[in-house]
């Protein structure tokens, strides 16, 4: 058996983040002990109507959140226990509400810093309503193998090491939360483990104290001995001693009290717990408490260090008369393990995964991005430029100085071509409709395709095809294109012609020639132009075709080629969007006179045929 918390415990937790953290620890406990998850609801008005998702083993349990305790209790009739994790200003009010709820039998208040007056009012209320209120400042309640209220017991591995997955023979009551864990650990090493451990909190006025729980332990046949850890201040340890001495008790009582150091320290010094201070007239010293316990017949080790051996002695005595549990320890390997996070599993080599995709160019897992292994900051400090980054991310190698220069020139020449072309106009239309920058630029980007700026890749691909299959037969190539593809990508311009040449194309060609860059595909494309312009003056090699041929000859992958135009033109499109914003450009509506209204004149609508 166990006290207060057991297999019938069903919990509502009042609070936000701290409440969720506690629920997670409780989920771990359920996983270890193979128990159904017993946190039924949260009360937290800011998140009411949502759920908190709590991992229990490898499952995720969605626990509903309510605005009030009354709603939670009405929706979950089995809730009998409340955990209070809300701030000190409102904690007492919440606890009062919980005590007024007929279905809730016990409450653990974890909140620290609750005013003493509020604690005293809760004491009064608990008495009136007959409810058990654990806290304030309590770490919670652990009934080994049955139920855990709060984070008591700490992390998963400690639950296993301290054998909290099964019942033992010892009860634990401590003021200190950290020491409750320590005592459970000591009992698991020196004896057979705990039945229930309770932190009552270190405040001056815990609502329930040693005696309340000693009474319950006395009635729990599985609990054979109880370890209490007290400290100076107040008179709760004296109360425990008086209870133990009042009549013969079934349970053995082991008590240790902290605070002897006070005899050697400045009078009135405050310790970590609010209740750990001497009374104004010297009452409540550790020595007085220890003596009271000793006089009452309790086993009182002289120091904390002597506690383990004292517990062992009690355990051996109990064992000699067949009083201890027959509970077997379970090897940690037989217990459920906490499911590992994928990252942890990979690290330890326990699991393998099939990656979703492969990445070969950039790595941001360290403290700064690496482009093909080069740290971005080092590239900057070494004086590298944007064309080098393009080379690394698009072609996985650093371009030669000449290549870098050519890329730079291509970008400068392609950055913009005025507001009237499809891309810029798309962006401007969107900008004037009040659309944001990314969407407006995307509107312009959508225009890039076979007729506008998007022919770089195709031009390179087909010039390459021609060079390989019709090296000395341009008419043959053109015939092939006409039959199989259509207009030759990279050839033709809407306004430019032989007489009105495209300056950009001339610049690139000049740079290639002057620097003796070999570009057989450019040479081939110029031969194609020589034939096509004889048919029509504007069938010239355009900027897409020029760029595509040169870049392919420089070793850039076919897939990257349209990217040069897109990258460059993005600069222009962003510029047009900013320009329209600053101009406060009005919504654009097409003029009727710019539309060829080739429409059917108005006519009567026929009657809709009945079914």
């Amino acid at each position: 058996m166990a006290i207060v918390a057991n297999e019938n415990t069903r919990v509502v937790i009042l609070g936000g983040q701290a409440a969720v953290n506690a629920a997670r620890r409780m989920g771990e406990f359920c996983h270890l002990c193979r128990l159904p998850f017993y946190v039924e609801a949260f009360v937290y008005p800011p998140d009411a109507g949502k759920t908190y998702d709590i991992p229990v083993g490898s499952q995720i349990v969605a626990v509903p959140i309510y605005a009030t305790l009354a709603e939670a209790s009405a929706a979950h009739g089995t809730i009998n226990t409340a955990l209070v994790y809300i701030g000190p200003a409102r904690a007492a009010q919440a606890a009062m509400e919980a005590m007024d709820n007929p279905k809730i039998k016990s409450i653990s208040m974890i909140t620290e810093g609750v005013p003493e007056k509020d604690a005293k009012l809760m004491i009064k209320k608990a008495k009136q309503t007959g409810k058990l209120l654990n806290g304030p400042s309590a770490i919670g309640i652990m009934s080994a193998g049955k139920a855990r209220l709060g984070v008591i017991g700490g992390e998963y591995n400690n639950l296993i090491l301290s054998k909290l997955y099964r019942q033992g023979s010892f009860g634990v009551i401590t003021k200190s939360g950290g020491l409750s864990n320590e005592i459970m650990w000591i009992i698991s090493q020196f004896a057979d483990g705990i039945t229930t451990a309770i932190g009552i909190g270190g405040d001056a006025y815990p609502v329930t104290d040693f005696v309340d729980y000693l009474e319950l332990f006395e009635k729990d046949p599985d609990t054979k001995a109880v370890v209490i850890v007290g400290e100076m201040g107040g008179n709760l340890e004296e109360g425990a001693a008086a209870w133990y001495a009042a009549k013969p008790r079934r349970i053995k009582l082991i008590g240790v009290v902290g605070g002897f150091c006070q005899e050697k320290l400045p009078k009135g010094m405050k310790f970590g717990h609010a209740g750990a201070k001497e009374g104004a007239h010297g009452e409540g010293s550790a020595r007085a408490k220890s003596n009271a316990l000793l006089k009452a017949g309790a086993i009182v080790p002289e120091t904390f260090g002597a506690l383990g051996p004292a517990i062992k002695k009690v355990y051996e005595d109990l064992k000699a008369v067949g009083q201890t549990t027959k509970a077997e320890d379970i090897a940690p390997s037989e217990l459920p393990q906490l499911p590992r996070k994928v990252e942890e599993g990979l690290k330890s080599g326990m699991i393998a995964v099939e990656p979703l995709f492969k990445n070969t160019i950039s790595d941001d897992r360290g403290e700064e991005p690496l482009y093909c292994g080069y740290a971005a900051s080092e590239l900057i400090n070494e004086g590298y430029d944007i064309p080098h980054v393009i080379g690394l991310l698009w072609n996985k190698k650093l371009p030669t100085p000449l290549e870098a220069e050519l890329i730079k020139r291509i970008i400068i020449l392609s950055a913009d071509h005025g507001p009237a072309v499809s891309g810029a106009f798309g962006t401007i239309l969107a900008a004037c409709a009040g659309i944001g920058l990314p969407q407006s630029v995307a509107a312009g980007m959508i225009m890039i395709g076979p007729r506008f700026g998007g022919a770089v890749t195709d031009a390179a691909v087909y010039m390459d095809y021609g060079l390989r299959n019709y090296p000395n037969d341009i008419p043959g190539f053109l015939a092939y294109m006409k039959k199989e593809v259509g207009p030759v990508p990279g050839i033709g311009h809407r306004v430019k012609s032989l007489k009105n040449p495209d300056k950009r194309v001339q610049e690139i060609i000049r740079f290639v020639r002057e620097n003796n860059i070999t570009s057989p595909r450019l040479d081939y494309a110029l031969k194609v132009q020589a034939i096509t312009t004889t048919k029509k003056d504007n069938l010239i090699l355009n900027v897409d075709g020029t760029i595509g041929c040169v870049l392919l000859d420089m070793g850039y992958p076919v897939e990257s080629l349209n990217g040069f135009f897109m990258l460059a033109r993005t600069i222009g499109m962003i510029g047009h969007w900013i320009d329209q914003k600053r101009n406060q450009g009005r919504l654009i509506r097409m003029y009727n006179y710019l539309i060829n209204w080739a429409v059917t004149p108005r006519r009567p609508v026929p009657k809709l045929p009945k079914k």
């Binding site: 953290n21 620890r25 000190p88 200003a89 620290e112 609750v114 005013p115 003493e116 007056k117 005293k120 009012l121 004491i123 009064k124 770490i139 984070v151 008591i152 017991g153 700490g154 992390e155 400690n158 090491l161 301290s162 401590t174 200190s176 939360g177 950290g178 020491l179 409750s180 864990n181 320590e182 650990w185 000591i186 270190g202 001056a204 006025y205 850890v229 400290e231 902290g258 605070g259 002897f260 150091c261 005899e263 050697k264 320290l265 400045p266 009078k267 009135g268 010094m269 405050k270 310790f271 970590g272 717990h273 609010a274 201070k277 104004a280 007239h281 550790a286 120091t303 904390f304 260090g305």
Partner: protein, 392 residues
Amino acid sequence: MGLFQKWGINVPHHVVISDAEQLDTLASANPWMKNAKLVAKAHEALGGRFKLGLVKVNLDLAGAKAAAKEILAREIDGMKMTQVIVAEMVEHTEEYYLCVKSTREGAEILMAKFGGIEVESNWDKVQRNFVEVGEKSAPGQCTELAKRCGFTGDLAQKMAACAHSLFDMFDNEDGQYIEINPVVVDKKTGDVVALDAVTMLDGDARFRHKDWNFNWAAEFGRAYTEAEKEIMEIDSKVKGSVKLIEIPGGQVALLPAGGGASVFYSDAVVNLGGTIANYSEYSGDPPGWAVQALTERVAALPGIKHIIVGGAIANFTDVKVTFQGIIAGFRIAKEKGLLKGVKIWVRRGGPNEAIGLAAMRELKNEDFDIEVFDRYTPLTDIVDMALGKKKV
């Protein structure tokens, strides 16, 4: 004194000054300063002022001015006296006692027809009246208490009224312990006046008392040190807590985790005849930087030979994070030339204990004199080892 006036309890006429010259101007507006005998005291959060010579009595205005000047020039434990309170000496013949103290069920009103130093020796003759929490003190109750103490007639009514007011103050201001000793009857006016008082209020209730603007006194008769103030300031800001009280002359510095375990570490040192250089604890999963600040202060304690980085098995305090703070603090201390000849003893368990302890062990490679133990070494064994009672 403001709080007593707020609840209708008479206190002597008084002024608070930060410069002795202010007294002349104040005296023209406050005739009592020229007509009555005066007392001057340091107005600081400091106990034992009389012994320290920070209270001067039976003064006239010129005497008060001289006394104020003298007090304002004083410095106690590095704390400069910045304010002096000059009050009327209330002429009286008898002294009485009034107190309200908290109990688990409510409060007790204590009253006696004697006061001052007589209270300690006649403690069993002090009369008591219990008021349950959530209840008001009934008017007749205090009168009955006053009569039980031996007060009669008009004085009984006045003492009852004063006790009633004191209870209201206690109840409404989240009192823990409020003692007026002595209560006197002003010969001139016949009023019941609170001459001196100890007021302990519940700091946890600060959130509902926006008008609390006073300084909180250290509870052990000295001003807080700079290091203590710094840690208190951090403590008030962070999740969880960090605490430091310096105890000059100790050789064993404490840097333990947890309000409960820290007390047992202090006990273990004292039990073996050791002397502690401080009381400290961190708990409630505080951020690493707060623990680092505490570590730097603890490492700087003069004359220490050992630092005990102890702790039980934490429930939710992250051992890795808090130990990272401690490690960073130790490194900074070492750079400053501290920690020479100081041995560090570590014992801890809890969330991320393996990582935290491993990081601590790494300090050995940085020339720290450090011994690190895990949960399999009992809690206070590191103290036994530090003080040579047990072999490492």
